[in-house]
């Protein structure tokens, strides 16, 4: 079981360290943590995926809120949300026939080839965790040279922003 939390934090030195240190210290089990800027200067946004079978999500929320630099925390697990993960996969392409085969698979997953090397292709895929894992599974037999995933980012559908109180 996974829960997805969105945290708005002050964009100050060491804030990521404070959050990461909290997870380690309280022995919270985290699947992924993605950080980036928001539409508002000075505010960063974290998407945190918690293994809720091993960690009490409410404790994660309350402890995050205790950090002075954490402004807001929202559990979006139960609300309609767009969730995306991005992966770059470098896969062995071999001869022309294999390369064409891989490119067909990539099309099926609505992924993109973003770099073509002599012996490899780099594939960019965006989507839910399941979709990316699905593509990775079918690419694996060809030989994956290298892979990176960003971790999940999430945004609730419709309505107003998570940081509505900040922008008001």
């Amino acid at each position: 079981m996974q829960s997805t939390l969105i945290a708005l934090v002050e964009d100050k030195p060491g804030v990521l360290n404070r959050v990461a240190s909290l997870f380690r210290r309280r022995a919270f089990n985290i699947e992924s943590l993605a950080v980036g800027h928001t539409e508002k200067p000075g505010i960063s946004r974290m998407t945190i995926v918690v293994d809720s079978s091993r960690t009490d999500v409410e404790m994660v929320v309350q402890n995050l809120l205790k950090l002075v630099n954490v402004i807001r925390v929202e559990d979006v697990t139960e609300v309609p949300t767009v969730m995306r993960d991005l992966a770059l996969v470098k896969v062995r392409s071999g001869d022309g026939a294999t390369r064409a085969e891989i490119m067909q698979l990539v099309d099926t997953f609505r992924a993109r080839v973003v770099d073509v090397g002599l012996k490899t292709l780099m594939v960019e895929v965006t989507g839910t965790d399941d979709k990316i894992s699905g593509l990775v599974d079918v690419l694996r037999p060809y030989g994956i040279e290298e892979m990176v995933r960003t971790g999940r980012v999430a945004m609730a559908r419709g309505g107003v922003g998570t940081d509505r109180e900040l922008t008001a």
Binding site: P13, N17, D56, M59, Q62, V68
Partner: protein, 569 residues
Amino acid sequence: MKKTGAEIVWEMLNREGVKVVFGIPGGAIMHTYHPRQDYDIHHVLMRHEQCAAHAADGYARVSGKVGVAIATSGPGATNLVTGIATAALDSSPIVCITGQVQTYLIGTDAFQEVDITGITLPITKHNYLVTDINELAYTIHEAFHIARSGRPGPVLIDLPKDIQIASTEFEPPEGDISLPGYRPVAPASAAAVQRAAEFINTAKRPVVLAGQGVLMSGAMQELRSFAEKAQVPVALTLLGKGGFPESHPLALGMMGMHGEAFVNQAIQEADLILAFGMRFDDRVTGTLATYSPNARRVHVDADAAELNKIVKVDVPILGDLRQVLTQLLPLVAPATHPEWLAQIDAWRGDSHFRNILNRPENGRLVAAHFINDIWEATKGEAIVVSDVGQHQMWTAQFYRNDLPNSVVTSGGLGTMGFGLPAAIGAQFAQPDREVWVIAGDGGFQMTMHDLGTIIQEKLPIKIALSDNGYLGMVRQWQEFFYDKRYESTRLVNPDFVKLVEAYGIPAWRATNRAEARTAIAEARATDGPTFIDFQIADVGEDGNVYPMVPSGAALHEMIRRSQPDHTTD
């Protein structure tokens, strides 16, 4: 008006109402020390930075104000760490100011550079590295606010040397503090308070578990009114001592690992537990599987992260305890619980018979004797600062206390060496009250260098050494749970009387009850600091703390002092 960073520090401390700070100068902080004499703030020169943090902590616990410790960079800062962690675990409001290497040297492993904000991140409520002189005044203002508000705790400000030297136009921060992510305590939910009242009004066997939150929110009177109106007996945590008078008929005494058996029994048999400002530490619950199995549970705390953390409760109430009790009181119906109180009294009688003070003396001095004698001599009105170990539990059991903010001890972290330096802070908080330190011979030797601070500051602290020649609590565990293999717990000690006399402090040695009483009387009649080496029984029943819940056992499964032969008197 232009001021240097160093001047801004003192200017801001002054504005926060600071009268005394505890510290040690050094290379990276001496620039801040330089203008100190121009301000009406006393600096206490400690002998170790750990003690500076403990003294600030002791000051905070007794005064209810923020304590301040100052240290240099590197080793000065790392020496604070144990003191900061101690304050963090016991929610004590202290502000630590550390020197740091120049901002342009940070990250270069410069002389005496250490990442103290990184090191203290998990043991502070918040911390700062100041890199802009223009933010210094506001940072100090904010630090004090965070330290003292909500659930209090330690805050550290790391101050690079070039920031101390730089100057800027000083404008004192005015108005409210703007911290978008900081929410100290919101008013409690009226519905939750109403639900708690319904539970209270239908309970047959209610018990209050009162913790340090009673003292921190200043809810002593409210708790008393509540307990009296609803006739609910009150058990205390170690740090809750002082929150409810122990001489009150509804007072049960201390709960937990070394609490009285009848208190733990009451908790286990209760049908409603009201946890007021306590956090279900493993030292008060025993194993959770069998904890208060029949009780509905109400938990009031100022920290949302404490609700449902250890023990799942039926009514969690987030709020300031004093306000919650004020809301609760009119909703609670006057009640009596004669059967329940009679049952508890029956259990209490058994504890009374087993109490070592009610046994015939066998000629050996035990800790209960001298602690009881100090209690009698001081009419229970002294500020008592204990260290950590067996004597800490004996002090909690035998120095019965009615006064708030008068019992100081390291509860959560259990820091040996805390007692003596914390007493220094306590004495500064209450210069006119009698302060006693009760320390074991193990813990005392961890910070006894600060006897130097006591004589330098001419502090009239009365030190009682509970001297059994062992790391006694560890020895007791070895006796009970480790096949009586006394591994590395026997201490070969110096002549403590001579040692203390070398500081010019009058000292006595007591090996029996009569000597103990005489020494206490003579020490109290002596101006200034005194020291008594109470040489107490080291092993066997006289040397152990009873009762005891073994680690991992249920709260009511206690190891108890044997029944006396004549329980009929």
